[in-house]
């Protein structure tokens, strides 16, 4: 996540949409919450690279450092 070029921006923007938007047709979306948190973590890392340090984004629960996989 440290070397974020344009392809990674596209991937993060895609994941932000795929995992959080789109039509919900069933209650059976089997997606680990940790995976979704990682996406937001990635997005935050990306944005932090062009801004000054700031607090966690409002309304987003980030995993504790020990919980981050991959």
């Amino acid at each position: 996540m440290n070397d974020l070029g344009p392809p990674d921006v596209s991937l993060l923007e895609l994941l932000d949409r795929l995992l959080d938007k789109g039509v919900v047709l069933s209650g059976d979306i089997t997606l680990a919450v940790a995976d979704v948190d990682l996406v937001y973590l990635g997005l935050r890392v990306l944005l932090a690279s062009v801004e000054t340090a700031c607090g966690p984004p409002a309304g987003v629960v980030l995993p504790a450092p020990g919980e981050v996989r991959g």
């Binding site: 039509v23 047709l25 069933s26 801004e51």
Partner: protein, 231 residues
């Protein structure tokens, strides 16, 4: 297991040339007036790896610009076609209205980030100041310095909103001046990008990120799944 990628206007397109997740062939279930594009899988729901995410996206995009398409959230599965068909029939009015809403449009994502100028020396906290107070003062100073850029981002948003059919601003996270998704008629994408470029070039204190065109992920109907299926 049935994995669903997207819903579109029926009749469904020819789906040769594009494979689904795990290289499975694509098929379509018609439940007039809507069709669902899916693939069959033996095992549980796929993991959201980059490859799988791009595969899902490629299927949605392969449905082409000539029909209205509603992307389905990643990881949506049904035990069999009967279960999928029942949901499509039950919610067909919502789905049809959703398709009508996005017809002829694409989604463009815009983030405007503030690239803060270097901290002026005279804003350093006085010796002995409490750390919490120093932090809040620094944040306040930063907010003041970003105000002109913030106002310009709002101006940009109003210009973009005028070109778009619809927009949504799903919470400006972190230090973003603007985080928006815009539903733009295909013919207006060029004009939208030109306005965005103008602001990006004119202001060295902001960085503009524009992604897309995407399928209209932010502009799909919210299906009332809590209601009885036969309502």
């Amino acid at each position: 297991m049935i994995y669903v990628y997207a819903l579109c206007d029926g009749p469904p397109p020819a789906l040769t040339g594009t494979a689904g997740l795990e290289q499975q062939p694509l098929a379509a279930l018609e439940a007039s007036p809507v069709a669902a594009v899916y693939s069959r899988h033996a095992s549980a729901s796929p993991h959201p790896t980059p490859d799988n995410a791009w595969c899902h996206e490629a299927v949605v995009e392969a449905l082409g610009p000539d029909r209205a398409v509603l992307p389905v959230r990643f990881g949506t599965t049904f035990p069999d076609l009967d279960a999928l068909g029942a949901v499509l029939r039950c919610h067909r009015r919502w789905l049809q209205a959703g398709l009508d809403r996005v017809r002829g449009c694409v989604e463009l994502g815009v983030r405007v980030l503030w690239t803060a100028p270097a901290e002026p020396r005279d804003e350093e906290p006085a010796p002995g100041a409490a750390p919490g107070r120093a932090y809040l003062l620094a944040r306040l100073a930063e907010q003041r310095r970003s105000e002109p850029a913030r106002a310009r981002a709002e101006h940009l948003h109003r210009q973009l909103a005028a070109v778009a059919a619809e927009y949504t601003r799903p919470g400006d996270r972190g230090g973003q001046l603007l985080s928006g998704a815009y539903l733009v008629p295909r013919g207006a994408v060029g004009a939208f990008r030109r306005r965005l470029d103008e602001l990006g070039r004119a202001d060295p204190q902001v960085r503009v990120l524009c992604t897309g065109p995407w399928p209209p992920y932010h502009f799909v109907p919210q299906i009332p799944l809590g209601e009885p299926m036969h309502a």
